[in-house]
């Protein structure tokens, strides 16, 4: 089946999911992000590359963090940014998703950044936009969050260099996590030999092994010898949905504490896509400790999004 993200020449037209992207495309994005990290470190943090282009933030699901980083990234590329808080506007009037997009299209959009509560929504939009318009998925339901996956991959590459030597452990609510799915696809595409998921059965999706991961229910065993530990946020609803009894029990068996972290490699890095629930999935001592690379992840997030937008807008 033709990958809707790539144009006829195999170039990235939309970024909808890491799944299905060739290794070369992933590497191109990470390498380009590298250049942008340099830009974010100097005083004039702007480059003129997307001057005259319009980036529309279409957030059907509220998010200040992600939307802000996309906005900063777009502005650093000298693009014009328009934020649309769809939840509050036409959607409640019953305007269909595609009608909303068509109306915006008439306003000369170049890139749509889309976040939606329903998996697959960005694909529907990508099928309907004009040839010169591009869609970036900022998170769709449980399905994918490709820019987060990419910035996680960038972070890992920055600290660990060679994916083919790594053991990566992802801990927590895999079932509901689009971040986990995207990261898993990226890691396997880039040749990571051992990708582990650590969670109680209730938080693992059916057939998760088919994604290319090893399943652990025992966190101590799962962390043994890990080079990278990625902690996922645990939301309060999970307790109400009969998936978990309490945050306390979760923290005791699946939270990252210093002594559990000690089972990983001595130079292991700890990542978290944020926002963190301190004391639930991660203890403050670890979040603020020497292994944590959680803050740099944020900087890399801007550079990665700059890379994605500058690559697709030119194709």
């Amino acid at each position: 089946m033709h990958n809707p993200q790539l144009n006829a020449a195999g170039e990235l037209q939309h970024l909808l999911s890491i799944e299905g992207l060739p290794r070369a495309v992933l590497t191109q994005i990470l390498d380009t992000a590298d250049s942008f990290v340099g830009v974010t470190e100097r005083e004039v943090k702007k480059v003129p590359i997307l001057r005259g282009k319009s980036v529309f933030n279409l957030f059907f699901e509220a998010s200040t963090r992600t939307r802000t980083t996309f906005e900063i990234a777009a502005k650093r590329l000298s693009a014009d940014v328009i934020n649309l808080n769809i939840a509050a506007s036409s959607q409640t009037k019953g305007e269909s998703l595609l009608d909303t997009v068509a109306n915006l299209s008439a306003m000369q959009a170049d890139i749509f950044i889309v976040r939606h509560v329903a998996s697959g929504a960005p694909y529907l939009i990508a099928r309907s936009v004009k040839p010169h318009e591009h869609v970036v998925n900022a998170g769709d339901g449980r399905h994918a969050h490709p820019t987060q996956g990419l910035l996680d991959l960038y972070t890992i590459r920055h600290y660990k260099k060679d994916f083919t030597q790594l053991t990566v452990a992802i801990v927590g609510d895999i079932l509901h996590s689009r971040v986990a799915r995207s990261l898993i696809h990226g890691l396997t595409t880039l040749g990571t030999p051992e990708v582990r998921v650590i969670a109680p059965q209730t938080l693992l999706p059916t057939g998760v092994e088919s994604l290319g991961v090893r399943v652990f229910h025992d966190m101590k065993k799962g962390l043994a010898g890990a080079d990278v530990v990625v902690m996922l946020r645990l939301q309060n609803e999970r307790m109400r949905g009969a998936l978990l009894p309490s945050a306390q029990e979760f923290n005791k068996y699946y939270g990252l504490s210093p002594d559990k972290l000690a089972l990983a490699k001595p130079d292991a890095i700890v990542m978290h896509p944020g926002p963190m629930n301190r004391g639930v999935e991660i203890d403050s001592a670890v979040a603020d400790g020497p292994h944590s690379v959680i803050l740099p992840q944020v900087t890399y997030g801007i550079a990665v999004r700059m890379a994605v937008m500058s690559i697709i807008a030119g194709n």
Binding site: E19, L97, A118, S119, G120, L124, P205, T206, G207
Partner: protein, 430 residues
């Protein structure tokens, strides 16, 4: 009026007959076959050389969207679709607006269909008032109005006590109850089969267990009441196995499968194709293979279309927000032929699933080619290929996962009660 259908490959699945021959229609009935047909003096002749002469198809589940959903489709458009697909008898579920829970509504629907004089329409009555799963409907009255069975359509009825009483009451009068087996709490929020594809696509899943657990409950209730149960739209390997065992136990159980589930699986969802958003969901290839095995060994009695016209806007939504269902009346025949070809199933055996066996489960006399039977025919060219494009579909619903496919099996003539509803006017004999 005597019409001679000449030189076609006459297939009567009920008797297993599959041979070139002739059929004489007189008035509303089949008057004679082969030699006896040729000897009679026909007023008109249909040249069926190169065509298959089969009983008109009996589709035991097709939504016509009347009353209440006329913006999606109307009786006129859907009956046109039925005739174009060679369907001469169809049963419609009661999930209309208002639901078919009162004799007056059933009467009105039947009269509308009769005045159209296309396919025969058999409304299936609601099992509970408004399908709400609390109070029983007046099943005896509804039966007098023409309901041949009672069902909840796709509306869940999860209260076991009510289910039991409903089966008991229906059984009192010898009525059959048609139910889809799905556990409400396991299916809640789910939109796709709980498996590898749903995991990759991040779609909430409905496990196959939702079907088998509910089926276990239903079969226990059948054991307790002896009421005839027809299980609608089996979808899983586990479900097929349980029905096979129930039949071996000689329980009064029959079942059907939707034509889409005979062909498709979760793999066909692709990049969130909402045309594959169906109930029950398309399950794994293993489940689909088990459904095919169930058709082959007779565990599954009937194939139906589960025809559900949906306007395109309701499909152009993110998968989980899109409306469920696929259009299928016109595609039931070509898709049944496709299944037969792929599995090397003899045509007579394959057609039984949409003619004689369907008629048997529904409880009507159609679906047979024999002297004295109603003159309902689907005369088709099994080799004629057509492309499934919106213009080629008479139904108002263009929502099919097979859009763009090339299918074989074009209906040339459809006859109901001896009248040619679709096709060229038959010629005078030479």
């Amino acid at each position: 009026m005597k019409i001679l259908i000449k030189g076609g490959r006459v297939i009567d699945p009920a008797s297993g007959r599959d041979a070139i021959g002739d059929v004489l229609v007189e008035g509303e009935r089949i008057a004679a076959l082969d030699a006896a047909a040729r000897d009679a003096r026909a007023d008109q002749v249909i040249d069926a050389k190169g065509l298959v002469v089969a009983p008109g198809l009996v589709d035991i589940c097709a939504r016509l969207r009347e009353p209440g959903f006329e913006y999606k489709a109307t009786l006129e458009s859907e009956m046109e679709a039925a005739i174009a697909g060679g369907v001469t008898s169809l049963a419609c579920p009661p999930d209309t607006d208002p639901p078919l829970d009162e004799p007056g509504l059933v009467d009105m629907l039947r009269r509308r269909a009769k005045s159209l004089a296309h396919a025969r329409l058999y409304p299936i009555g609601a099992l509970t008032v408004k399908l709400e799963g609390e109070r029983l409907t007046e099943m005896a009255e509804l039966s007098e109005s023409g309901c041949l069975a009672f069902t909840q359509a796709n509306v869940p009825l999860d209260d076991t006590q009510v289910l039991w009483r409903a089966l008991q009451y229906a059984g009192t009068f010898g009525f059959a109850v048609w139910l889809r087996a799905e556990d409400l709490s396991l299916a809640r929020d789910g939109v796709a089969h709980d498996g590898e594809v749903a995991t990759r696509l991040g779609l909430p899943g409905i496990p196959a267990m939702a079907e088998t657990i509910a089926l276990g409950r239903l079969l226990e209730l059948v054991r307790a009441t002896g009421t005839r149960l027809h299980v609608c739209r089996v979808s899983s390997a586990g479900g097929v196995a349980m029905i096979r065992a129930a039949k071996a136990e000689k329980l009064p159980v029959t079942c059907d499968v939707g034509i889409h589930h005979v062909h498709l699986s979760e793999m066909d969802l692709g990049y969130f194709d909402s045309h594959c958003h169906l109930v029950p969901p398309l399950r794994s290839p293993r489940d689909r293979d088990a459904l095919r095995a169930g058709l082959a060994d007779g565990t599954i009695d009937v194939i139906c279309s589960d025809h559900t016209p949906v306007d395109e806007d309701a499909k152009q939504m993110p998968f989980s927000e899109s409306e469920v269902g696929a259009t299928g009346l016109e595609l039931l025949l070509p898709l049944t032929l496709k299944w037969a070809t792929e599995t090397k199933t003899p045509l007579a055996k394959a057609l039984a699933k949409v003619t004689s066996d369907a008629a048997r489960v529904l409880g009507v006399k159609s679906g047979r080619i024999e002297t004295g039977a109603p003159a309902d025919f689907a005369i088709f060219d099994p080799q004629a290929i057509f492309r499934v494009v919106p213009e080629a579909l008479r139904s108002q619903g263009k929502n099919t996962p097979f859009m763009g496919y090339e299918l074989a099996g074009r209906v040339r003539y459809t006859l109901v009660d001896g009248r040619v509803i679709l096709g060229e006017t038959p010629k005078r004999p030479a």
